[in-house]
């Protein structure tokens, strides 16, 4: 019987806490999902937060997210004011938040590319022409990824003149570039599309058995990851704040910090740099 009273008090307590909670409006918040290693996210990016905080002279917080769409939602809802987006998610975010600006990209992101990889049993070899992968089983990476989904799907549709669902025997979404490599290596899927940087670093780390899986094609280059900032930071953190953030990002040259992304350096970027991504996304019907 005592449970009854307890429950009543507890629910009152809970509600009072909900009502009383509030946030510190003066904190600048950002999020980032690196394309390769997602372990120890907070530990690594809190160092970035610390760096930004020193440069900007205000409190900076890092919020970990699980997916590109979650990052876009957080950006749209002003839960984060700055985000390290993939090409596609950046386009989506800037469409949803008018006035937001791409301010920096990784050096490598100017000429990013995807690899198509295949299991040895397919007999496919590296070539310059688009490989004959019709009727194979095929896996993309995450649904919202530029290098693992958008661009590969675009080139597939360009070359095979078919939607992937029709062109392939089976289409999967591994959810992650590392998974794509693992699944093609184990023969779960015959062919897959993967971010070239993830492939290169996995190869360097000895995680890939090149007898089992190899690169069969590399895509033309396209712009990918970038930092995007909301327009209203000027109003909330002072005029010229976006420029200050841009400068802080461009000046980030500690290898330890850059390794988290992982990029060799950040360079300037503008919204129009990502027009190709937007066009492609529209063409394959990922955005209206």
């Amino acid at each position: 019987m005592k449970t009854l009273t307890k429950l009543l008090t507890l629910c009152a307590l809970t509600l009072s806490l909900f009502v009383g909670a509030n946030t510190n409006a003066a904190t600048f918040t950002f999020t980032a999902i690196p394309d390769a290693d997602e372990s120890q996210l907070r530990t690594r990016f809190e160092k970035v937060a610390l760096y930004l905080s020193e440069q900007l002279g205000i409190e900076v917080k890092y919020v970990p997210v699980k997916s590109y769409s979650a990052a876009v939602t957080a950006f749209r809802n002003n839960q984060v004011q700055l985000a390290w987006f993939g090409g596609l998610s950046g386009v989506q975010a800037r469409r949803l938040v008018p006035g937001s600006q791409a301010i920096a990209q990784g050096y490598e992101d100017q000429f990013f590319k995807s690899y198509f990889i295949a299991h040895y049993s397919t007999g496919l070899e590296l070539s310059d022409s688009f490989p004959a992968i019709t009727d194979k089983t095929f896996t993309f990476g995450s649904k919202g990824s530029t290098s693992g989904r958008l661009m590969p799907q675009y080139y597939i549709e360009q070359h095979l003149k078919q939607k992937p669902q029709q062109a392939f025997k089976r289409v999967g979404f591994s959810g992650d570039h590392n998974r794509t490599i693992v699944q093609v290596q184990s023969g779960t899927y015959q062919v897959g599309a993967v971010n070239y940087k993830v492939w290169d670093s996995a190869l360097a780390a000895g995680k890939i058995d090149t007898n089992k899986v190899k690169v069969i094609w590399q895509s033309p280059t396209y712009p990918d990851y970038q930092w995007t900032i909301r327009a209203d930071v000027e109003a909330n953190f002072g005029v010229g704040f976006a420029d200050k953030v841009q400068a802080a990002l461009l000046n980030m040259n500690s290898p330890e910090l850059l390794k988290s992304f992982p990029r060799s350096a950040f360079i300037k970027a503008e919204n129009k740099d990502f027009q190709p991504v937007e066009d492609v996304a529209k063409q394959i019907g990922l955005i209206d």
Partner: protein, 236 residues
């Protein structure tokens, strides 16, 4: 106080309850009381006797329905709540006297006044168990006394009992019966002990196969008649 004229009751198997009107001709409903007329006056102490299946309980429940706002029922189906303590089960008799908020608080923390009253009542009913004990830990006789105590705690003018002492020994039965009779203006009770019915009640009525056979108000009845009643029933 109560007048029944040409009462017919049906036991509806599907609904599991007595109904006054016959619902259908189907087998699901059997008639249990036939053309029964009876008047019970204020202040009377009436015992209802009869062999098993005579319709005593059905009649009693019907009477309770008629007198519901003035009567306390001590039913054969006790209706104790196993998860509640002796105290709370007895307190259930007093629910109508208090505001619901009072009742709810009492469920969590018993009030002193009621605790005191109920302790006294239990003592009178020779129920020497801790009041906080759950009723599912009690013996049959103890449970019956809890049910009785709850009926008494309703503090009504009329007591309606359906064999409230069936699990008790004869000596205790007669002591508790005295308590019940003393505390109520009118008592209507189904009894299984014929001798006790004859000795302790003003009026005895006997049922058999759903009909009123004997009524001590109309005729003087003796032990022989009653014995005969039980015997014919046993043969038939």
């Amino acid at each position: 106080m109560l007048t029944l004229a040409n009462l017919n009751l049906h036991y509806d198997k599907t609904a599991g309850a007595n109904t006054r009107n016959k619902i259908s001709e189907k087998d699901s409903s059997t008639q249990v009381i036939f053309d029964l007329s009876l008047t019970i006056n204020e202040g009377e102490k009436v015992a209802i006797i009869g062999p098993s299946g005579a319709g005593k309980s059905s009649l009693l429940h019907h009477i309770y329905q008629e007198l519901t706002t003035r009567a306390a029922l001590c039913s054969q189906r006790q209706g104790l709540v196993d998860n509640l303590s002796i105290y709370h089960n007895i307190f259930m008799g007093a629910l109508a006297r208090h505001h619901w908020l009072f009742n709810l608080v009492n469920l969590i923390r018993p009030f002193k006044q009621d605790l005191h009253d109920i302790a006294a009542l239990c003592q009178q009913l020779e129920l020497d168990q801790p009041l906080a004990k759950k009723v599912d830990q009690l013996s049959g006789g103890q449970r019956q006394r809890v049910a009785l105590a709850r009926a008494l705690y309703q503090q009504q003018a009329i007591f309606i009992g359906d064999e409230p002492f069936s699990a008790l020994d004869p000596l205790m039965t007669s002591r508790l019966l005295d308590t019940v009779l003393a505390r109520h203006n009118s008592v209507i009770m189904v009894l299984h002990d014929r001798a006790l019915a004859m000795s302790a009640f003003d009026r005895v009525i006997a049922l058999d196969k759903g009909r009123l056979i004997l009524d001590s108000q109309q005729q003087s009845i003796d032990q022989a008649q009653i014995t005969a009643l039980y015997q014919t029933s046993a043969i038939a």
